[in-house]
Amino acid sequence: MFINSIFQSTLPSSKGFTLQVLMESYTILAPVILSFFILVMPSRIRYYYTLCLTIIIALITAIPAFNALLNPVNGPLIFFIGGAIGTLPFIVDSLSGFFILVTNFAVLAGMVYSQGYLKPYRESKSPAQLALHNFSFVWLHISMLAVLMLRDGLPFLIAWELMAVSSFMLVLFEAEKRKTLKTAVNYLIQMHVGLFLLVIAFLLCEAETGQMSFDSLRSYFSSHSNFPLFLLFFAGFGIKAGFIPLHTWLPEAHPAAPSHVSGVMSGVMIKMGIYGIVRVLTYTQSDFLTIGLTIIVVSSITGLLGVMMAIVQHDLKKLLAYHSIENIGIIGIGIGLGTIGLGLHQPVLVFLGFTGGLLHVLNHSLFKPLLFFSAGSVYQAYHTRNIEQLGGVIHKMPQTAGLFLLGALSICGLPPFNGFISELLIYVGLIKGLSVGNVYQSITFLLILISLALIGGLAILCFTKAFGVVFLGTNRSTPNPEVREAEKGMLIPQYAIGILIILIGVVPMVFISPIVAVVSKMFNLGPTVFLDSLFPVFTQVGIMGLILIGLIVVVLFIRHGILRKRENQYGPTWGCGYTAGTSRQQYTATAYAATFAELAHPILPEQQEYEAIQEEEIFPKNRSFSQNPIDVFKSALNKIIDLIMILLKKIARLQTGNIQHYILYAFVFILIIFVLLYLHIL
């Protein structure tokens, strides 16, 4: 009640406006100013200072966000920052509010986790480097929040750019590795291609409406064809989100960054692309069917190819990065379904699609950081991300293993965890869509349904591989006796995420109803009678989850009671009579995925490097064999870049370094202009 009264009075129409504005300008500006002190803090207290700052930022944005999310009727909350050059409105509506809360939680979890993760780097990195890292982390947080709150074109793009630059600094943390440096630069370039597309899109809008902001899109879309401009936005935001074929930066940048950064980048930063797409969709007014069809087709391809490429990876973090692409696909399927619902005037599809998509944004922002954090703990302990060299981690790090398993189960969309809830919403939407549209739409929906089912099955294949090979069995390389469970500071944020994952799975309605309100507000769909039809579904899903957990507890209890009285024996694994097996003879990840990789060979080519044994070589020498999956899109992109490079190299011949030549060029240029003018061509 108290919070409500404050924030209702912050609307521009209410009294006491000037005083409020002054105070708000300070609360918004304060973190910006305070963040610079990170650079000069003594290294002893720097981490705690950064943590406090992150908490402060999270709190001051979470209050209006909660307010906007829980009372969407009030309209958006608007704050102004005044200054000599003009005022800058920050707008928090329910959609931004939802994303702000998602962002804050993931960033906070990452911040808490980072203390333990960065500990080994304290010796190898200079204090200035660590300070810069913390500083960039805070700025990534600030810029993401700004992206969510700014609606004017230019400030939005500046915040978007800040987000790219600060995450670039974070990826660059281990810049002494040449590969990391290359990856980071690649990331920066791709982000700027995205920025460039967004600038064009906004400029097109400005040329027609005279204003460069999200709100002017409404008047643009009402008078122009919607699809082309939307496509431009979709491509611009899609690079950030990682839709295939715009994803090539993602599987490189995520593994290169430290784990807490990968968690935040994958969990929330790429969702800013989704936010942008949804935000633009709220302004579109026609062409819904074309737009929706484009999104849903691109998304299902993204989902399928993402998970297929994930299966053949050997690098644990790269595997997780490809899964981010898959999940972006699932989110996109939800959004596309909702958009088609708008075109068909079927509010049920709009609700199911967008609610499913947005809930999956929340879900992915939980289980993906969880997976990256636990994978990071494994990397910290074993110093390798290569799945083939790991194994048996569960004996050394049982809690981390359990948390990874929890993340794996929920990312596969299995009940009673959160991933299932959002996937069920999308499934129900697709099934309802089957009987709503015409024959082509029915076929499309069925194909999407098949791909969603396949994505689920493939995700299970992928995570049984990842979990089975990394955590189970025995260690495949020389065992390191010093490995211990990750420290408490790293486990606590993971447990916090784990609790939320189970909560969403067991009491889903608590989380679904605010999102339904967000969707209703976004497209002015009026009061949400729709919620009543969802209520029995998800209450029963929750009950089913509880029954399952209850049953498991009961059976375990009986099992324990019976086995206590019996004599249990322990011995080696059955080896078919062969007793000299070594850990290297275990099933490898490559072998596990081999049958699948063979089936999918046309789409997932592999690169093998080895030297064939010659015929006359009777006693072959030592040889090496390496096999790496190839991302076809990346090699296609490289081919294009190679072509451009050849062209540019030809042009570079003009650059002789000889001043006389340059003067000649200028002379030739003027001559050409003169001739053209003379011929009345120019």
Partner: protein, 302 residues
């Protein structure tokens, strides 16, 4: 209702399959209840546990059984609604079984044995390939009936006129094949094979013993009669008196068990490399049904 009957049917289901197979191969064969006597025997034994394994290995059989029990809870009995029924409940049904499978696969990986890894890899791949067939089937039924929950789908399916005969035939065929894949039976896997390299399901439970092995066997028996119930829903009209429906249910279960026994006796296992093709064929049969329904609902012509 369905739950109790499924458990009752599971008591004799595996026994009938074994009996049919032994009669056809000219042996007398064990009694119908022999599989359950074996299970009772296992329940009384202690476990032999590999030292390589972790808590996953100990938890997995329990969770595997519980997911199957929960999946059965979701199924309606003809004319009697299930305990829990809601829009999209068949999605939960499929995913519940997938959860059990996930745990089952990683418990095989937990032993560190390459045999079991091999079985796990095959199991994961085949069930992934079989998943679309199930969803196409239910998507088709949802399109035909306009419902997205199992109980109303089955109820209105019975009244869909003579079109339901041909669709029912396809559905029953698909479900039997899916049940065979999910239970790792004949065309995909041979439960009687003696070579670890060619096994799928059997190799995954090599290291399980005693109580845990019993739980897995119970789960497998239940899975059969669970699919039997699903098929019974297509075949038994809900307007019949309850006694007749129950009788028909057992007739369906026995027929299915005999059918599986017959199929396993006269059919050789496919080459492992051919299995994916076979499983994908099921999805295409499902697609045929889907196009049929598009024709029936006049979407395609009108």
């Amino acid at each position: 209702m369905g739950f109790v009957l499924v458990i009752a049917a599971a008591l004799f289901f595996p026994g009938i399959i074994i009996r049919v197979k032994s009669l056809l191969s000219g042996r007398k064969g064990p009694g119908i209840m022999q599989p359950w006597r074996n299970i009772l025997l296992l329940l009384r034994k202690g476990n032999v546990i590999s030292t390589t394994t972790s808590y996953i290995f100990r938890l997995a059989p329990t969770i595997y059984l519980c997911t199957i029990l929960c999946a059965i809870l979701l199924l309606p009995f003809p004319g009697v609604p299930s305990l829990l029924g809601f829009e999209g409940d068949f999605v939960l049904f499929a995913y519940m079984l997938a959860l059990g499978k996930f745990l089952f696969i990683i418990s095989a990986m937990d032993t560190g044995s390459s045999f079991e890894g091999m079985g796990a890899s095959r199991e994961a791949l085949y069930s992934m390939l079989a998943e679309p067939a199930f969803f196409i089937l239910f998507g088709t039924l949802a399109l035909l009936t306009g419902f997205s929950s199992m109980q109303p789908i089955f109820d209105s399916f019975q009244f869909a006129g003579h079109n339901s005969f041909i669709l029912g035939f396809i559905a029953v065929y698909l479900l039997i094949q899916i049940a065979m894949i999910e239970n790792s039976r004949m065309p995909i896997d041979d439960p009687k094979t003696h070579l670890e390299l060619t096994m799928i399901h059997e190799v995954m439970i090599l290291d399980h013993s005693g109580f845990d092995l019993a739980l897995i066997h119970i789960g497998t028996a239940l899975k059969f009669s669970m699919y039997g119930l699903l098929i019974a829903n297509f075949l038994i009209p809900p307007q019949f008196p309850l006694i007749i429906r129950i009788l028909l249910f057992f007739v369906v279960q026995v027929t299915m068990a005999v059918l599986i026994g017959l199929m396993e006796s006269f059919r050789a296992r496919k080459k492992l490399a051919k299995n994916p093709q076979f499983i994908v064929t099921l999805s295409s049969i499902g697609l045929v049904a889907f196009i049929l329904v598009l024709l029936i609902t006049f979407k395609m012509i009108g």
